[in-house]
């Protein structure tokens, strides 16, 4: 064994304060911490007296990397924030830059982005629920949901070329339009969704063990949730119908008919059920959007950000120079700053962008819901049992890429 390895964190409780308590370390390499979170708990028997969450084990320097790339080149980095629903991040970032540039999206792009954002929401919630159920022992439900998620991944691979991190959003539009037959397959997948999720409902909803493990566990009230910065399904599970898609509508949400599911008590069961119902609402929205989808161009016709067609690039000098400038220097975004937020599957995903008029950003900051939720996660765990930490943590849906950036 080599020399003693350094400890990257300093815990708040080196010594126990009370007699008879034990300090236990969970993570950061742990099957159920969804990646790399370390939770140091002080236990009195099985009861959690204090919990201290340490994140940062996946800090990959997103903001510093963004300052070294052009506005277009950093879209792959943005993808890898909330990697379960990569398209939502793409669109939130592109919306922020488009606001700074003063670009208005084409109608087809607006509806298509809304459709794909809801599709990503389904994929994210499937992953979250599948992982939490597996950690409680429901392996069958995990396999059903992951199989459905695999259909979605293959379907999105037919559109974007990649299964998990797509880099599909572009400033002013999208990378490419829908291939033929895509909408027909979408219909098939939504029908499969009903079948698979129906089975999971049958397995879990009235399951005595599941209810015992999740009802009245990890309870939080609305006022507390807002104080600790919770947004998204966690805030909605406490009973507050706060949803940016309804409160401050963006993209095509104002034209859609959907409900915002809320919970009763703010416990783990409510969070599971809110996510299941949100997926149902997303499917309902996608079906409406498929009917409403207009024809037309995907990308806005703006030379500052949209790449010209390849055949023009090879024949006209202006298009060649335009293409060259966009690739080498990046789109010239006017100086200024903007904060633009969208309702990502986890909550409010905001991008705060500062530009000094060049092709590379001065600062790109992500207001990530997972990071803020980790700040309040200890409130959900304290007072409950050690075994409750796992379902609670699963229901918070902390995504490492988003939390640590």
């Amino acid at each position: 064994m080599d020399a003693k390895l350094p400890n990257p964190v300093r815990s708040v409780f080196e010594q126990v304060e009370r007699d008879g308590t034990v300090v236990v370390n969970i993570g950061p390499s742990h099957p159920a911490t969804h990646g790399t979170i370390q939770i140091i708990v002080e236990l009195d028997g099985e009861k959690v007296v204090r919990a201290d969450a340490h994140c940062g084990y996946l800090h990959r320097g997103f903001e510093k990397e963004c300052e070294a790339h052009t506005w277009h080149n950093l879209i792959p980095y943005v993808d890898r924030l909330n990697y379960c629903s990569a398209l939502s991040n793409d669109f939130a970032y592109c919306a922020a830059v488009e606001e700074l540039m003063g670009i208005e999206l084409t109608p087809r792009c607006k509806y298509l982005r809304t459709l794909l954002a809801e599709y990503s929401r389904i994929a994210d919630h499937l992953t979250c629920i599948a992982a939490s159920l597996m950690e409680m022992g429901a392996m069958t439900a995990f396999l059903y949901l992951v199989m459905l998620r695999d259909f979605i991944y293959e379907h999105l691979a037919a559109l974007t070329g990649a299964r998990v991190t797509y880099t599909y959003g572009r400033i002013g539009g999208l990378a490419c339009d829908l291939p033929p037959g895509w909408l027909a397959r979408l219909d098939e997948i939504l029908d499969q969704y009903e079948v698979f999720v129906g089975r999971v409902h049958g397995l879990m909803d009235r399951n005595r063990i599941f209810i015992d493990r999740t009802r009245d566990v990890g309870v939080i009230s609305t006022a507390e949730a807002i104080n600790w910065g919770f947004t998204g399904p966690i805030l909605r599970s406490t009973g507050a119908p706060r949803d940016l898609r309804k409160d401050t509508p963006y993209l095509a949400y104002a034209e859609l008919d959907f409900e915002v599911p809320v919970g009763i008590k703010g416990d783990n069961y409510d969070r599971y059920y809110v996510r299941m119902r949100e997926m149902d609402e997303s499917v309902h929205m996608i079906r409406q959007l498929v009917d409403l989808l207009p024809d037309g161009p995907i990308n806005v016709d703006d030379r500052r950000c949209t790449f010209p067609e390849k055949r023009l690039v090879y024949t006209e000098i202006e298009s060649l120079i335009n293409h060259f400038k966009l690739v080498m220097e990046g789109p010239q975004v006017p100086a200024g700053e903007v904060y633009s937020a969208q309702e990502a599957p986890n909550g409010e995903l905001g991008f705060y962008i500062v530009s000094t008029g060049e092709g590379t950003p001065y600062k790109v900051h992500v207001r990530s819901p997972s990071f803020v939720h980790m700040g309040g996660a200890h409130r959900l765990m304290e007072g409950y049992q050690l075994a409750d930490i796992i379902p609670t943590f699963g229901s918070v849906n902390m995504i490492g890429g988003e939390c640590d950036r």
């Binding site: 064994m1 080599d2 390895l5 350094p6 400890n7 990257p8 950061p28 390499s29 742990h30 099957p31 969804h34 990646g35 790399t36 940062g56 084990y57 996946l58 800090h59 990959r60 320097g61 510093k64 990397e65 792959p76 980095y77 890898r80 990697y83 379960c84 992953t127 599948a130 992982a131 995990f142 396999l143 992951v146 199989m147 998620r149 695999d150 991944y153 299964r163 998990v164 991190t165 490492g400 890429g401």
Partner: protein
């Protein structure tokens, strides 16, 4: 390879060589089809790890599905996702806690070479910290790529020498 241990060399004799070769083949066959992975999961590649462990790509067909979450019980360390400097001591510790024979798979480009995270926070490839047996590229790799990686690792294990008596025992 497991050949960090120096085997005791018996006196050369044809019959003995035949027996040890066959023993190596038998042990290699057994070891390659009973891999117990330790999924050291960090980032986005976890999504593909989940996909490759479940239907329809199923690593259980290769005997490599049952994860052992204790390093003492695992033999394949799959480093899935980016390794940051903060996480590096933990990876080193987990690797050292694993018993021989052990293999390491670098799952994804971030584990292979740092990917496109070339900055102050990410380690540019886990082979700076631990020795790696198989590199599976992709961002994230398709499940078929992962299965290809596992099969190549199985070939490696099958062809390796599997000494039973070594200098350390």
């Amino acid at each position: 390879m497991a050949a960090r241990i120096i085997p005791i060399r018996p006196a050369p004799s044809a019959a003995f060589e035949y027996i040890t070769t066959k023993k190596d083949e038998l042990v290699g066959w057994a070891r390659k089809f009973s891999i117990f992975p330790y999924p050291f999961v960090t980032a986005c590649c976890a999504m593909e790890f989940m996909a490759v462990s479940s239907t329809p790509y199923d690593t259980d067909r290769f005997g490599a599905a049952l994860p052992r979450f204790s390093p003492r019980q695992a033999d394949l360390l799959m480093v899935v996702g980016t390794l940051t400097h903060k996480q590096a001591p933990i990876l080193r510790k987990v690797y050292e806690q694993m018993c021989e024979p052990k293999w390491v798979m670098a799952f994804g480009v971030c584990a292979t070479s740092g990917g496109f995270y070339q900055n102050y926070a990410a380690v540019a490839g886990i082979d700076k910290i631990i020795p790696v047996d198989i590199y599976v590229p992709g961002c994230p790799p398709r499940p078929e790529t992962v299965i290809d990686g596992i099969m190549r690792l199985q070939d490696q294990i099958a062809r390796a020498r599997h000494p039973i008596l070594t200098k350390d025992f």
